[in-house]
Amino acid sequence: MTARIGVVTFPGSLDDRDARRAVQLAGAEPVALWHRDKDLRQVDAVVLPGGFSYGDYLRAGAIARFSPVMETVIAGARDGLPVLGICNGFQVLCESHLLPGALTRNDHLHFVCRDQRLRIENATTAWTSSYRPDQEIVIPLKNGEGGYVADERTLDMLEAEGRVVARYLELNPNGSRRDIAGVTNEAGNVVGLMPHPEHAVESLTGPGLDGLGFFTSVLKRLVNA
């Protein structure tokens, strides 16, 4: 049976179709989830896609966190449901306190879209096990509020516990503390990532295929489970 991976659409989600395409290309069945439905339709994992949920006017992800679907996602995540938050999804996960820290306005104050080199620092999470430890990948990055911040203690803890999933290489594109591009929760089932792996799943439309690993990782995990 193919794994079913849910992709949530909030009003203002933009990369939901792309995330579903990536899920499909990875060999799983994408399931569209609607922000107003608490029902997760028995999916095996959830992707919170990029975009500007509810316009992101207050703070990115601040309003989406209170949507009905998030109630179930938050509960599921605490029970081990694999959840990947990409960009706006990462912001929603931080606002929901499923992940520590917060994402703030880029230090240069501009939206930035570029092909970004990263190092995968934790290849054991639900979403990164297809990568080699310390593997370098290039995937698109596009955000206006992507600066990862947390207090020093939290940052130290994340590093000590190996919970920094990916770090920016060559250039820190948004002023993230300690070049952090993505983090995971203690259990490793919830991952937040600022860059967009779903835009690097076809050589025709992205910088390469380096993003596919996030989606194949979770498949592997679900099959082995």
Binding site: Y54, G55, Y57, L58
Partner: protein
């Protein structure tokens, strides 16, 4: 060292999508009784030396020409006690 606060708000007749987004979300979060929300900017300036009339006039000019876009925004300058 004194602190001067400059508040910049969209003029009342200008659409405020940010405030509206907050207002629309409130009932869903269980907050009622708020009939309107406007969202603006608050600047806190640390000023060297005394904040006399001349200093305030300069800050007001700064607010007018730089911190606010008076085509769509109003501003308010005051010394924080």
């Amino acid at each position: 060292m004194a602190r001067v606060v400059v508040d910049v708000m969209l003029k009342p007749e200008i659409l405020d999508p940010q405030g509206q987004a907050v207002q629309r979300a409130l009932p869903r979060l269980g907050f009622s009784g708020i009939t309107d929300v406007r969202q603006g900017k608050r600047f806190e300036l640390e000023v060297e030396g005394p904040v006399d009339a001349a200093a305030l006039a300069r800050i007001r000019e700064m607010a007018e020409t730089f911190l606010a876009n008076t085509v769509i925004e109003d501003f308010d300058v005051r010394v924080q006690s």
